[in-house]
């Protein structure tokens, strides 16, 4: 899947001129526009993997995009498990992917 931001002058819905927003994603600056979700900014920059699963270390990203599946969880400004699709991007947001390994030595 390819996601891209349409230049606002080409956008058929004719939005007003957007205000840019910059976040960092795993240390890398990504730009978007005010009003986009964190997931929107990340995907418009062609990144799809938001976290990796504990059990199989498999990548996860935006599955439902409407806050139901909880697959697109990221760390934002130190807060874990935030749904990237439900959080508007704000200038300076520090976003990181997350991965938690399974606990070792189950039982006592």
């Amino acid at each position: 899947m390819v996601s891209r931001l349409i230049p606002f002058r080409d956008d058929p819905i004719q939005p007003s001129e957007p205000t840019p927003v910059t976040i960092t994603f795993d240390g890398e600056p990504l730009s978007g526009v005010v009003g986009q979700s964190i997931a929107g900014v990340i995907m418009a920059n062609e990144r799809l993997g938001f976290r990796r699963t504990s059990a199989n270390d498999a990548p996860r990203g935006v599955f439902c995009g409407i806050g139901v599946c909880f697959d697109c969880l990221v760390v934002i400004d130190g807060v874990e498990d935030v749904r990237a699709c439900q959080r508007r991007a704000r200038d300076g947001d520090v976003v990181t992917t997350q991965h938690h390994t399974l606990p070792e030595g189950e039982g006592s």
Binding site: A55, F70, P103, E106, G107, S108
Partner: protein, 393 residues
């Protein structure tokens, strides 16, 4: 000696009976009114517990099951090859009292269980907090049960069914039972479905909470009743719950006869990072509506065990119906009222764990082998059930 058997119900108990019989060379047909493994087996948590059982016949079966599961999961994994992992894990159960009054009943319950052969470890509060660092430090007593385990019940049941199929069992789905086939002398020798008549030497009802309905269709009355339960699922998080952790008042809720709503905290995490929060018990027939007051009560009680859960979100909830018996014992064996009819049902909330033992007992009795346990306590003709058979009839 029984050579062919019909099993009604393709949940984990039916699947276990099918595998135990088919591997002993019996010709098996499993019939389910809808899709296999879509009822009670799919509506629970997959708990294999010894910790919630008082000394008695159910505990005897549970201890036997605790020893059987590790072998069974390895056997099935070997036999089925690429089949999905059934996630059997002996993670242990931590039972805690959350009130001053609850401490001494928990410790004396554990002592009685230890005398009956259960592995129990009485822990200091500090030791309990070492096992579960995020547990509420205000607990008043804690007992660890290393034998408590869990399994993914849907995969386990499908694996048992797959094994039965490899031993030539047939599985008919979307085939409700419409009536009995009786011999000239009145024995049950088969069943009818909307599309076919299936004959066999014996018929086993393994339809969980719907067993009463199936029994009625076959001409006998059976006091198995649905007992509703709801489970909450949080969104995933860093693993902070490492065992099955539950409030000691759960034991009282399991053993109760009360039809009204009862809730008691049972909290555990999954490999994915979600936390499962139970439990509720309510006798409201087959009303499957999700009741917010039940969910709210379960959520509030879970915070008594793990206060940190207050900051996390419940992602979804699901529910199911347990097959409740008025005398609190599973029903495993031939029905004395109708020759040819057998039962493997009534395990209430313990059916996942007890299924393999149930299958083995049924199979041993049917092929004339010596059952591994005394089967009298589970017999449909046991004294404790007699008043209910009369009452229902």
């Amino acid at each position: 000696m029984i050579g062919s058997v019909i099993i009604i119900g393709a949940g984990i108990v039916g699947a276990s009976c099918a595998r135990s019989l088919a591997t002993r060379g019996v010709d098996v047909t499993v019939i389910d009114r809808s899709a296999a493994v879509s009822g009670t087996t799919a509506g629970g948590e997959g708990n294999l517990l010894v910790s919630d059982k008082a000394p008695g016949s159910e505990l005897t079966m549970a201890l036997h099951a605790a020893a059987l599961w590790p072998r069974l999961s390895a056997e099935l994994a070997n036999e089925l090859g690429t089949f999905p992992d059934m996630e059997y894990e002996q993670k242990g159960g931590l039972v805690v009292a959350t009130t001053a009054a609850g401490a001494s009943p928990l410790l004396s319950f554990a002592t009685a269980q230890r005398d009956a052969g259960v592995q129990t470890e009485e822990l200091t509060i500090a030791d309990a907090l070492r096992l579960e660092p995020d547990l509420n430090p205000a607990i008043t007593a804690a007992v660890f049960y290393p034998q408590d385990s869990q399994v993914q019940p849907v995969i386990a049941a499908e694996a048992l069914l797959a094994s039965a199929r490899r031993h030539d069992a047939r599985v008919l789905q979307n085939a409700p039972i419409t009536g009995p086939v009786l011999s000239a002398d009145g024995a049950l020798v088969g069943v009818t479905t909307p599309t076919e008549t299936v004959r066999a030497d014996a018929v086993v009802i393994a339809a969980g909470p719907w067993s009463g309905e199936v029994a009625r269709t076959l001409g006998v009355l059976l006091p198995v009743f649905p007992r509703r339960g709801i489970v909450l699922v949080t969104s995933r998080m860093r693993h902070r719950v490492f065992h099955k952790v539950y409030d000691a008042d759960y034991v009282g809720a399991v053993g109760s006869d009360d039809a009204a709503l009862q809730t008691s905290s049972v909290v555990e995490s999954t490999a994915a990072g979600t936390v499962l929060i139970g439990s509720s018990r309510q006798q409201i027939g087959f009303d499957a509506s999700m009741r917010t007051e039940v969910m709210a009560e379960i959520a509030a009680k879970a915070l008594r065990l793990f206060p940190f859960l207050a900051d996390h979100q419940v992602m979804r909830a699901y529910g199911g119906f347990r097959p409740f018996m008025p005398d609190h014992l599973p029903l495993v064996g031939p029905d004395h009222r109708l020759p040819g009819l057998w039962h493997a049902t009534g395990h209430e909330g313990a059916g996942i764990g007890l299924a393999p033992v149930t299958g083995d007992l049924i199979a041993a009795m049917m092929v004339g082998a010596e059952p591994e346990l005394d089967v009298a306590p589970y017999s449909p003709s046991r004294a404790s059930l007699a008043p209910f058979l009369t009452e229902v009839a």
